[in-house]
C-alpha cells in the first residue's frame, strides 16, 4: 500500500513539474495563434490563425530585421569567443605555466562583475566612437559576458579527456599544435559544440546591453518584445508571436545538447 502511494505520488509529482514547466510556454504558443479578440479570452476553443506572424514581420514591427540582428550578433559572438576560449582552455588545462591559477581565477572572477558596471563605460565609449546602435557594439559587449564563461566550460570538458592520447601523438611525432588539431579538437568536439550552443543561447537572450546600445538599426529580438507595449496597451498576441520566434530556434538547440548538458555543467562546476 505504501509502495503504491509512493509510486503514484512520484509520478503525480513529475506530471505536476512538467505542467509547471510547460504551461507558460504552451500558453504563449497558443496565444501566438489566436486572433486579438481570442487572446484576451481564456477559451481554448478558438480558430487558429497565422495572422500574428504575418503582422510582426511587416511594418511597423519588422521582426525580420531583428531576427537578422540577433542571428548576426549571437553568431559572431560565438565565432569569436569559442575559438579563443578553446585555446585558452587548453592551455589552462594542460600546461603547468607560472601564474596559471592566478590567471584562471582572474578570468573566473570577471563573472562576478555585474553587467551594469561595464555597460556604463561601454555606452560612453560607443557614444564617442559613433558605435551606438550597431551590431559591432553588441558583439563586443557580449564577448565580455560570454568569453570567461566559455573558457570555464570548455576547460571542464578538456580536463575530462585523459592525456594519454595526446602524449602518444607527441611521441608519434606531432607538434603541440598538431596534437591540438588532430587529437584534442576531435575529442573535445562535443564539449565545444555544447559550449558554443550555450554561448549562443546566452547572447541570443541578452537584454540589458541591447536595450541601451541599440535604438533602431541593431535592435535584437528580446528588446523588440518591448516595442509591442504601445499606447494602446500591450499587444499580447503579437508579443506571443514574437516570443515564439525567439524561443523556437533556441529550444531546438537546447534539446540538441540536452544529453551533454549535465556533463558540461558539472565538469566545470565541481572542479
Amino acid at each position: 500500500m505504501n509502495k503504491y502511494i509512493a509510486y503514484w505520488g512520484e509520478r503525480a509529482l513529475l506530471v505536476l513539474i512538467s505542467v509547471v514547466v510547460l504551461f507558460p510556454i504552451g500558453w504563449m504558443f497558443l496565444t501566438a495563434f489566436k486572433k486579438p479578440r481570442d487572446a484576451y479570452s481564456l477559451s481554448l476553443n478558438f480558430e487558429p490563425t497565422v495572422q500574428n506572424f504575418v503582422t510582426v514581420f511587416s511594418d511597423p514591427w519588422n521582426l525580420g530585421s531583428m531576427v537578422l540582428n540577433s542571428v548576426i550578433v549571437a553568431g559572431a559572438t560565438v565565432a569569436i569567443a569559442v575559438p579563443c576560449a578553446s585555446l585558452a582552455a587548453y592551455s589552462f588545462s594542460r600546461f603547468r605555466v607560472r601564474g596559471r591559477k592566478f590567471l584562471f581565477f582572474l578570468i573566473l572572477s570577471t563573472q562576478f562583475i555585474p553587467a551594469v558596471v561595464i555597460l556604463l563605460p561601454f555606452f560612453l565609449m560607443f557614444r564617442s566612437l559613433g558605435l551606438l546602435d550597431t551590431r559591432v557594439a553588441l558583439i563586443i559587449v557580449n564577448l565580455a559576458i560570454v568569453t570567461p564563461f566559455v573558457i570555464w566550460m570548455i576547460k571542464g570538458f578538456i580536463d575530462a579527456i585523459p592525456t594519454d592520447s595526446e602524449e602518444a601523438a607527441m611521441i608519434d611525432g606531432a607538434s603541440r599544435l598538431r596534437v591540438i588539431k588532430d587529437i584534442v579538437l576531435p575529442m573535445a568536439a562535443p564539449g565545444i559544440l555544447t559550449s558554443s550552443i550555450f554561448c549562443f543561447i546566452l547572447t541570443w537572450n541578452e537584454f540589458m546591453f541591447a536595450l541601451i546600445l541599440s535604438r533602431r538599426d541593431a535592435v535584437t529580438l528580446p528588446v523588440g518584445l518591448v516595442s509591442f507595449r504601445t499606447e494602446r496597451g500591450d499587444l499580447w498576441e503579437l508579443m506571443s508571436a514574437a516570443g515564439v520566434m525567439i524561443t523556437v530556434p533556441i529550444f531546438i538547440m537546447a534539446l540538441l545538447i540536452q544529453k551533454h548538458f549535465t556533463r558540461g555543467m558539472t565538469a566545470g562546476a565541481v572542479k
Binding site: E10, L13, L14, I17, P24, W27, M28, Y40, L42, I80, A81, P83, C84, L87, A88, Y90, S91, F92, F95, V97, L103, S109, T110, F112, P114, A115, V116, V117, L120, P121, F122, F123, L124, M125, L143, A144, T147, P148, N205, F207, M208, L211, I212, P222, V226, D234, S240, G243, I246, T247, I250, F251, A254, L255, F261, T262, M265, T266, A269, V270
Partner: protein, 294 residues
C-alpha cells in the same frame, strides 16, 4: 616555438578579449565613479569630486531602497532555487520514461529569454484576462480580482517566481551531475543497514553534496544580484519602487537621469558586494574541500 611560449601564446587571444571588454571598462567606470558627470549638462566629465558619489549613495533613499529590494530578492530566490533544484534532482535521478521526459523539458525554461519570461508572466497575471490570475480566482474565489502586479509584496513574489522558474531547472542539472558522482555503494550499504529514505537523503546524500550545493548557491547568488531583465519586462520596478533591484536602479540612474558619476559609484558598490559574498562562499567551499579530502 617551445612549450612555454606556446602555453602563453594560447592564452593571448582570450586575454585580449577579457582585458578589452572587461578590465578596461571596469577601470574606466572606477575612475568615473570619482567624477562628476551629468550627461544632460556636459559631454565630457568635469573634475574629480573624491568620494562624493559614494557619500551620496550612503544617504540617498532610492539606492537604499534598491539595496533592501535586492537583499530580499536574493535571499528568497537563492533559497528557493537551491532547495527546489536539489529536490528535483533527487526525484529525477531515477530512470523511467516520465523521469527522462521531465529531465528533457527541464532545459526549456533555462533556454527561454528572461525578458520574454517577464513578458509572459505579466500576461498570465493580468487581473482581467491573465490565465493564472483567472485560474487562481476560479479555484480560490477569495483571490478573484487580485491586482497581482499592483501589490508590492505580490509583485515581488511573482518576480521571484519567474526567476526560480528560469534558474531552478539549470541548477537541477548541476545537482544531478553532483548526484552522479555520489557513489551508489554508500547509499546501498545504508539501505541494507535498514536506513529510511529520509535518513539516506539527509544522512548520506546531502553531506556528500555540500560542495555542489555551495557552488550552486554561489552561482545563483551572483545571477540574482544582477537581476534586471524581468524587472523591466514584468514590473517595471513597480508598483512604486517596490521591485527596483540594484541593477535596475543603477540602470535608471545612468540612462534615465544620465548621472554617470553616481551610476558608476553605485555599480562599483554592487561589484564590491558581489565580490565580498563570492569570496565568503569561496572560503566556505575551500574549507569544505579540505574537510572532504582530510
Amino acid at each position: 616555438m617551445n612549450e612555454r611560449t606556446l602555453s602563453y601564446a594560447l592564452l593571448v587571444p582570450a586575454f585580449v578579449i577579457v582585458i578589452a571588454t572587461t578590465i578596461y571598462p571596469l577601470a574606466y567606470s572606477f575612475v568615473t565613479s570619482f567624477r562628476e558627470w551629468d550627461l544632460t549638462k556636459q559631454l565630457r566629465p568635469s573634475g574629480f569630486v573624491g568620494l562624493q558619489n559614494y557619500a551620496h549613495a550612503a544617504t540617498e533613499s532610492g539606492f537604499q531602497n534598491s539595496l533592501w529590494v535586492t537583499a530580499i530578492f536574493v535571499v528568497t530566490s537563492v533559497i528557493l532555487t537551491v532547495v527546489l533544484a536539489m529536490s528535483l534532482a533527487l526525484l529525477l535521478r531515477r530512470t523511467g520514461r516520465l523521469h527522462t521526459f521531465t529531465r528533457i523539458i527541464l532545459i526549456l525554461p533555462f533556454a527561454m529569454s528572461p525578458a520574454l519570461i517577464g513578458v509572459s508572466y505579466r500576461f498570465m497575471f493580468n487581473p482581467e484576462f491573465g490565465v493564472l490570475a483567472k485560474g487562481l480566482g476560479a479555484v480560490f474565489p477569495a483571490l478573484e480580482g487580485t491586482p497581482w502586479l499592483a501589490n508590492p509584496d505580490l509583485a515581488m513574489a511573482i518576480l521571484v517566481i519567474t526567476d526560480v522558474w528560469h534558474w531552478a531547472p539549470y541548477m537541477t542539472f548541476m545537482c544531478l551531475g553532483g548526484l552522479a558522482s555520489v557513489p551508489r555503494e554508500t547509499e546501498e550499504a545504508a539501505r541494507i543497514d535498514g536506513a529510511s529514505n529520509l535518513r539516506i537523503v539527509f544522512g548520506i546524500i546531502l553531506p556528500q553534496m555540500k560542495g555542489v550545493l555551495l557552488v550552486t548557491a554561489v552561482l545563483k547568488t551572483i545571477f540574482a544580484l544582477k537581476m534586471f531583465d524581468q524587472v523591466v519586462t514584468l514590473t517595471g520596478g513597480g508598483p512604486g519602487t517596490s521591485t527596483e533591484t540594484m541593477a535596475f536602479f543603477i540602470f535608471n540612474v545612468g540612462f534615465e537621469w544620465f548621472d554617470m558619476g553616481y551610476a558608476s559609484a553605485l555599480a562599483w558598490i554592487l561589484t564590491i558586494i558581489t565580490m565580498v559574498i563570492s569570496a565568503w562562499y569561496v572560503r566556505m567551499l575551500l574549507s569544505e574541500r579540505k574537510m572532504a579530502t582530510a
